[in-house]
Amino acid sequence: MLKHLTGSEIVCEALIKEGVSVVFGIPGGAILPLYGVLSKYPALRHILTRHEQGAAHAADGYARSTGTVGVAFATSGPGATNLVTGLATAMMDSVPMVAITGQVGRAAIGTDAFQEADITGATMPVTKHNYLVMRADDLGRTVHEAFHIARTGRPGPVLIDIPKDVFIEMGEYDPDESIDLPGYSVPGMADEAQIDAAAALINQAERPVILAGHGVVLSRSFDELRELAEKAQIPVVTTLLGISSFPEDHVLSTGFPGMHGMAYASLAIDQADLIINFGSRFDDRIVGDAQRFSTGSKKIHVDIDPAEINKTIHVEAPVVGNIKDVFGQLLPKVKKTTHVEWLQHVEHLKAEHPSLRIPESDRLMGQHVVKALSDVTKGDAIITTGVGQHQMWAAQHYQFKNANSWLSSGGAGTMGYEVPSAIGAQVGNPDKLVWSICGDGGFQMTMMELATVVENRLPIKYAIMNNNHLGMITQWQSFFYDGDYQAETYTGNPDFVKLAEAYGIKGIRVTSQDELESAIREANAHEGPVVVDFVIEKVDDLYPMIPVGQSIEELIEDPN
């Protein structure tokens, strides 16, 4: 049924039709007409963030943790450009998002008008697609196209830029109109010949390893992954973003590999005769030196994006398709088998290269904090992190019990992701426990969102790993710049407990190992949000480590 509505109303009705119930954003002049109709659409809950980057990361955290499309609103000019880091973060990690930005009026476009920015030009490299919509009649179809593009195929962020007068203009909206995207096809089942080739390699392999990437999480193929691994008795290495796609207490779970991954995971990959990659793009943090990456193995690469095949690593058996469909095709063709010797060898690798030793110290170390968080929450929390040492400790020492409970900025490596992504995760999962593990550097990049936390009564627990340093920077300066430490020390950190209290949030400080468990229990028991300031030791040595661009031969396990 054709509806005659304003542009703003069309946007809201189309969002509701797409199943949207929450949007994160901040108003401004050019997007005010959209905010002007929100009161008519109570089905759209608007969460006001304090910075547009926060809105984008919150939408990202919401999307990752719920599997639905996250939505962010921002105004023209600086509002829109503030989204860019959030869009780039979502793009790198293939997160489905739709951003709607206001633009100056059509007549003013191209005149360097007040708060004008060419946001479609600026975001071309960091979106899966973007639109500048010049007629209200096109808005409905564009919103539905944007959601289709964001959530299907390899997911990603889509931006829709809407001039102020297009929001106000009357237009026609046909909710039943089907969209037509001749340049966009969504891979589903893979070619049978590719499946047969992959199955043959799996059935012949003596030392196979599964490398489970973000694609397993995005396609929600947790049960299928487990079924395949168990049927053919194949050890499962998860990538950093594949963490929580496979139960970590499972005997076949073999950690995560790469720069700061478990040594045994990197060694298993190096010694394998077959790598079965499900939805990982052979990122440089895993591969290191591509010429020396697992040279003794054949490789199967299952990916929904054909452009990832042979991009960095040459593979013998490419399989292009939706991972969930591919599992369905592969499972009946993979023979039930065991690899007793190989599994014993992998167990031996785990024993010989434990990789998770916590340095003996009376002082409080970052690893102690994560270990205690893991123990006290029994691996049952949703964990968000930023990037740096705290992220690696979290990835190494938190033992995830639930599928898709790990939200981290992997590809982009965005400091500050941890604070607002937790907002999105908590809004999307109101009954779950959300712990945001923060660096003191990253926390200060987005801590203004504590106001958003308070305003929306979100019971998020923030764990600041506070060593008054950019920890990973100190490590790199120690390793690669002869210990010439520059711009790595934070001498002006606030008192984070007082800061929390200034927002009306419970603040707890922990300075010793003895206080750890009771503080975490106290935070968990508190009904509202909590900021725990974990005052930890500064260390330059997060191990294991494979220096950038190197291979397993340069692995530094633990020199202490």
């Binding site: 039709k17 797409e18 199943g19 490299p125 697609h129």
Partner: protein, 197 residues
């Protein structure tokens, strides 16, 4: 794939793209950020309304240029991409060459033009302009031969290419070529998060 003199590789890519504002910018941006080198580019409206045809010649290391078609296919505005390098294609480039030609030299230049089956499209007192189409080597040779007379201007187009005869379906490896079939999509209901193709 054709190896060029300096050891890099060349591929010819034909694409059908939406005729919309910003499409060229998307493609140019993709080439820039992925480090693809465009040796030539030709764009024009196609026989299908709303669609333009582009022919790219891309140069670079083998593993890089092999990525080009796959990356282009990720763009929503690119409807079809075919890496036609290894296929049976015909292709042409066009050049306009303005060469210094006074009365004394004109005869010699026109003789060259004849041998190359070139059209002379403008004659002035001191110069003449000719139009040549064909393969790159033919155009390069003519330009070299005309150099001694004094080149005033050389204007070259990019390569345009098409497959000879009919393209038999299934000849390609299926990996890098767009499925030209349309994506049909039913809108999800307000409660569902379904709606994939």
């Amino acid at each position: 794939m054709a190896e060029t003199a300096n050891g890099t590789f060349q591929r010819t890519i034909a694409a059908l793209v939406q005729d919309r504002p910003g499409v060229l910018a998307r493609i140019a941006g993709l080439f820039r950020r992925r480090g693809f080198n465009i040796a030539s580019l030709a764009v024009g409206r196609s026989e299908r309304s709303g669609l333009s045809r582009m022919t790219f010649v891309v140069e670079g290391p083998e593993e890089v240029v092999r990525q080009v078609a796959a990356q282009l296919d990720r763009l929503i505005d690119v409807v079809e991409v075919h890496d036609i390098t290894e296929q049976n294609i015909v292709w042409r480039e066009l050049a306009l060459i303005k060469v210094r030609a006074n009365a004394g030299k004109r005869g010699e230049i026109l003789e060259l033009a004849n041998i190359f089956r070139v059209n002379v499209i403008d004659i002035g007192v001191e110069s003449l302009t000719m139009e040549i189409s064909g393969g790159r080597q033919k155009i390069d040779s003519l330009i070299e031969l005309l150099r001694k007379f004094g080149l005033e201007e050389v204007i070259r187009t990019g390569r345009v290419a098409t497959l000879r005869g009919t393209l038999v379906e299934g000849e390609d490896d299926g990996l890098f070529q767009s499925d030209a079939s349309k994506s049909t999509y039913t809108l999800p209901t307000a409660t569902g998060e379904s709606g994939s193709v």
